[in-house]
């Protein structure tokens, strides 16, 4: 009995030792890689921040209008944001390399998927950013135009434009990432087509008189008093 127990314990310890010998070196290597990556990330962040502060990057971005494009509220500071992004990029690269040190099928597949997906993620982010900027720009333009032209409900109109552009951006991003393509596309067709049909029906059936009165009013304003707004300039 004691002999059997001794054998089982001896076998378990041998197994443990075998597993440890198998996975300990890669584990130590992974820890070392993470440490190096962490140090490199800190160093890169410090150097980058110093460099951007030296060349007054934020001032240049404000002057050129790029800041206003990305962050109209003015909260984002490139001299802080870019080094932070660099820090995390190096850290994530270090984590991936560390994971790859185990050299198993699972870890290799994980790293592969992440590496191939990463550029697509960046591009999708860029599409969303561009769409966000475009929606803000068009919305502001529509707002100012509607106010100057005395169009009713200018803010709602501007909001509608913003929502529409963002919706199209999200659909385009999902299509690019191959994420629920069918769902987003169908939603887009349904919403836009439905809105167009609804607007046509509403205008045709319910607002004929209002539209006619509005157009008559505008035309008489322009020919009578409205003309005076322009002629004397």
């Amino acid at each position: 009995m004691i002999e059997i127990l001794k054998q089982i314990i001896h076998g378990a310890l041998e197994n443990l030792s075998e597993q440890s010998m198998k996975y300990l070196p890669p584990l130590l290597a992974a820890v070392a890689i993470l440490l190096i990556a962490w140090l490199a990330a800190h160093l890169a962040r410090w150097a980058c921040a110093k460099f951007f502060r030296g060349i007054e990057l934020d001032r240049w971005l404000r002057r050129s209008g790029v800041s206003e494009m990305i962050d109209p509220a003015g909260r984002l500071q490139a001299a802080h944001a870019v080094p932070k992004v660099l820090y995390w990029a190096i850290l994530v690269a270090g984590i991936l390399t560390a994971v790859n040190a185990f050299n198993t099928q699972l870890t290799s597949r994980m790293v592969e998927a992440l590496v191939f997906f990463f550029p697509k993620l960046i591009s999708a982010g860029a599409i969303l950013l561009a769409g966000g900027w475009l929606s803000r720009y068009l919305s502001s333009r529509v707002l100012v135009w509607a106010v100057n032209e005395e169009i009713p409900w200018p803010r709602r109109l501007a909001g509608l434009v913003r929502v529409l552009v963002m919706f199209v951006t999200v659909v385009a991003t999902a299509d690019y990432l191959n994420f629920a393509r069918g769902v987003f596309l169908s939603a887009f067709i349904l919403v836009v087509g439905g809105a167009a049909l609804g607007a046509a029906l509403a205008l045709g059936l319910g607002c004929r008189e209002q539209v006619r009165r509005f157009l008559e009013q505008r035309s008489s304003q322009e020919t009578a008093a409205g003309r005076s707004l322009w002629d004397h300039l």
Binding site: R62, N148, E150, L233
Partner: protein
Amino acid sequence: MSQNLLSQEALAAVRSIKEAEIVIGIPSFQNVRTVEHVVRAAHAGLAKHFAHYSSVIINSDGGSSDGTREAVLSAQVDETRLLLLSHPLFPINRLSLPYHGIPGKGSAFRLIFEMARQLGAKACVVVDADLRSITPDWIDLLIRPVLYAGYDFVAPYYHRHKWDGTITNSIVYPLTRALYGLRVRQPIGGDFGLSGRLVERYLQKNDWESDVARYGIDIWMTTVAIAEGFRVCQSFLGAKLHDAKDPAADLSAMLEQVVGSVFLLMERYETVWRKDAGSKDIDLFGFRFDVGLDPIEVNVDRMLKLFRGACCELGEIWGKALQPSTMGEVSQLGACTGNEVFRFEDQLWVRVIYDFASSYHRRTLERGLLLRSLTPLYLARVASFVMETRNMYSAEVEDRLEHVCLCYEQWKPYLEANWRGDPLPDASVTRRQVEESVPAGEAASLIGGDEND
């Protein structure tokens, strides 16, 4: 490069004419109704006043399809009716040429200036093709200071209705005066006399492909002449009447173009306008006289309604363009419900313009958006001005405008600090200084009278 600007037709004309001491340029586009009168006035002016000079009238056309070019070439002048003291020594040549390049008045002028240079012109006059009030004497008044008094740039000086030319009166004239120190009353008049030297300078510039040369050619020409030290004067031409504007013409687009050009030129000539303070008069030629003018109706209620609506909707955008103190006062103005007591005071208006100029420079907002958002503020200012001057004569209104101009000059340190992004001078102190040195409204006494003076 200059040869490439001229088409084969233009080059052939230059070779044929060889030289012309005076060039009169008429840019046009779809002006068949009025261009004939302008050409006849130009021809008569040359025959009457510059009979001993070789000259050419050049129409630079933007592709008119209504027969404008044919009208230019077929316009007849019966010289026997002009009662000339001497007959012209040289034939008055006449050309109508299409211009190439970006559509707009700037490209039309570029062709005229290039032709003037190729022909060795000593003086060049440019006049609008839609003028109804041009007379042969205009040609004399715009050329004589160049040929006989050594001036390089002759600006027009018109007699206008007190409510006519409000962009000029509210923004362009006082701002240009405060910036560059010369009192050019009509900096965007459109009818100018130029020396060959100044034409040469214009052609050396690289702005012909830009928006400034497209939309802001008039203010560009005036600013280049003043800022680069050319001799500047003005001539009294009488009333300026031109073809009725399209009622659907976009005010916002006009403001964006004209005011945008002024702001862009401020960036170009920053070292010039930051040097000087105050302003001085320039020589005025011609004999001043009063003329009857068509009455102008202004719908003040509609302007104020637009402004009040904009205060609610555009507050966020204005907040980015205006300093907090300016924005506060504008918001208070927006809350004022009574039209009769509505007053957009001069000092506030000046600060609005200076804040917009600085925002334009620092790009706190997209530039087109910034300029278009100025429209409701501008309309509020015009409405206030109209209500204030309803019972004033023209001379009193000029005094009133003088006050506005002095406000622009006194607040210039505010503009300089704002432009650089430095701490601003104390607004209340500046306001007190301005009020002490420029008493508001005391120069203009309100006498009841016909507003259509």
